[in-house]
């Protein structure tokens, strides 16, 4: 590798770069784009689409889809940083979507519908929070339960139907949220990005981020410094709930109809993958929202790639797995320390010869 020849200080820089997950995520993203472009030369083309009033093209639809991943990945990042996990985000998406669509069809004002949907997300998140922080239940099982129950709640809300609000007048703001454009860029992507940045600022400009990490690293020690771990835990699950609700609105509003079974299905897994690809450890502690955001885009990009390559629908899971594995392996220290390791071994050999002599 290049790193090997360079002089020490340089070497360090390179090593740092190689050691940094973000680098590899970017590499992966670019690689995927290149692959797609090779297969489909139009892939990078952007055209202006008059009847949507925005840019059009593969990358745009990709960004449009990534919005929902951005939301859940952000919430998931905070939760995972506290050494927890939130398996319920997918179901929360369904519940929020169901609420919004049902209310719309019942003729509720769209803004009210949106607010109620978010509120419900908040409530479910808070329930998770209470169970984990006050009752001290294990996050995995708590949110697993909520994942089961959430689907049920969604079904109860729509009484088992896939409520369709596409014909309902007055849904425009919601529709725009998911399908509209701001300066030619997908509105939902812009909104998502703004929210991610907002969360980032709040957590880094205040002490929230550090306290979340601190609780994730060592809860007892945190308590002894006067932090209230319960508050923190409650907070992250609540946030995750709201963000998941937003993701749910994106997902349903894009077609103005909720699918009680499919909306948000398996997305908790995608969110977790995004977070890990972004370099936050499932063991808790240090988190990187930027990384998770990148991870979210990569997930969307992988799915885009699957379509572009026309991977046989039967093979998609395998393809998905393969890509994830490759990315994670690239990120493994073992791999990008290879050169350094070899150097060490060589040095050791020499010094031992020296000793022997």
């Amino acid at each position: 590798m290049a790193a090997a020849e360079k002089k020490d200080d340089k070497n360090n820089v390179v090593a740092k770069l190689l050691g940094n997950n973000l680098t590899w995520s970017v590499v992966a993203l670019i690689a995927l784009i290149i692959i797609c472009t090779i297969v489909d030369h139009q892939f990078l083309n952007l055209s202006w689409n008059d009847n949507t009033g925005g840019l059009a093209g593969p990358l745009i639809t990709m960004l449009q889809e990534s919005a929902r991943y951005l939301m859940i990945a952000t919430g998931m990042t905070l939760v995972i940083s506290t050494a927890g996990i939130d398996l319920s985000v997918g179901s929360v998406m369904a519940v929020a979507g169901a609420t919004a669509m049902q209310l719309l069809t019942n003729g509720t004002n769209v803004w009210v519908a949106i607010l109620v949907a978010l509120a419900i997300g908040l409530v479910i998140g808070s329930v998770n929070g209470v169970l984990v922080s006050i009752l001290g239940l294990q996050p995995f099982i708590t949110t697993l339960i909520m994942m089961l129950a959430g689907r049920g709640i969604a079904k109860v809300i729509t009484s088992g139907e896939n409520t369709d609000a596409s014909q309902v007048a007055g849904g425009e703001p919601l529709r725009w949220m998911a399908n509209g454009f701001i300066l030619g860029i997908p509105a939902n992507f812009v909104i998502a990005l703004v929210i991610v940045i907002a969360v980032g600022l709040v957590s880094r400009k205040t002490a929230m981020g550090m306290m979340i990490e601190s609780v994730g690293i060592n809860q007892e020690a945190s308590r002894m410094t006067g932090i209230n771990p319960r508050k923190i835990l409650f907070l992250v699950y609540a946030i995750s709930g709201v963000l998941a609700a937003i993701a749910g609105l994106f997902a349903t509003a894009s077609v103005m109809r909720v699918d009680v079974v499919k909306t948000g299905q398996d997305l908790e897994m995608y969110a977790i993958l995004a977070v890990v690809i972004g370099g936050t450890s499932l063991l808790g502690g240090k988190f990187s929202l930027a990384g998770s955001a990148l991870g979210a885009v990569i997930i969307a990009m992988i799915r885009k790639t699957i379509i572009t390559l026309g991977v046989d629908s039967a093979a998609t899971p395998a393809f998905f797995a393969a890509v994830v594995i490759i990315i994670c392996v690239m990120q493994a220290p073992k791999v990008h320390n290879l050169s350094a390791e070899l150097k060490r071994k060589r040095a050791l050999k020499d010094s031992q010869k020296a000793v022997a002599a």
Binding site: Q42, T52, A56, G57, P58, S159, S166, V255, R257
Partner: protein, 308 residues
Amino acid sequence: ACGGSSSSDGGSSDSGQKTVGFVAVGPEGGFRTANENDIKQAFKDAGFNLVYSPTQNNDQQKQIQAFNKFVNDEVDAIILSSTEDSGWDDSLKKAAEAEIPVFTVDRNVEVKDAEAKKAIVSHIGPSNEWAGEQAAERIAKDFPNGANGFILEGPAGLSVVKDRGTGWENKVASNIKVLESQSANWSTDEAKTVTAGLLDKYKAKNPQFIFAQNDEMGIGAAQAVDAAGLKGKVKIVTIDGTEAALKAVVAGDLDFVIEYNPIFGKETAQAVKDKLDGKTPEADIQIESKTFDAAAAKTALDSGERKY
């Protein structure tokens, strides 16, 4: 809820009310919900005590568990709306031994074991293959001199997907070219993303039709087509015939909807009644389904007698 099965001697309770076990798939919206609600209603009207047992994410195992439970509860009859068309031999054998008549609805199940076969009285439901064939014929009619297009499939492996696919294969015209088949998991918004992707990818090949294996996906595809400004240029054919889909046909978003008629609760209840009254219902009760172009859809909607 189910007083019937509570008396320890099982189904045929003192009240004389017959208990029927319904091994169901569970509310998944669209066709499924309409179908199961209709069956529940019909049996209630017919004075049965219907015990309903749904599964989760199409898990056959949970259905088998439910089925065996009904056998042990000694219900008077079992209605089986299976997620899979095989793997029922053992359970059916148990039913046969317990002399509980079984009625398969929607999906037929194939049985190897002779003993097991005895348990099944009749099958009630529309035909998936037929629906697929209708789709192929419609496309052929729309594009007499050929066209390119896509197929949106359900999750790989479900037998509905295969049957509707087979139907299509049976009747598809030689000059109709399927550029690509992708799974959109029955889901509207996945269908939208997938279709958007396919439209980008095959712009050059000027795709003209989309065969969506269910309404949900068709509606999603329609929105992608609309967004791409191809509304009307790409004709979309879907299967199921939910209200939303019919509206879409009227609105011109969809070209053609083939009904997969979920409303056969009455027929099922009747069959069960006959059997329990000692008559022998037909082995295969075909539920015929309609097809809707814009006009037909409009009249159907206006008539207001559609249950879903």
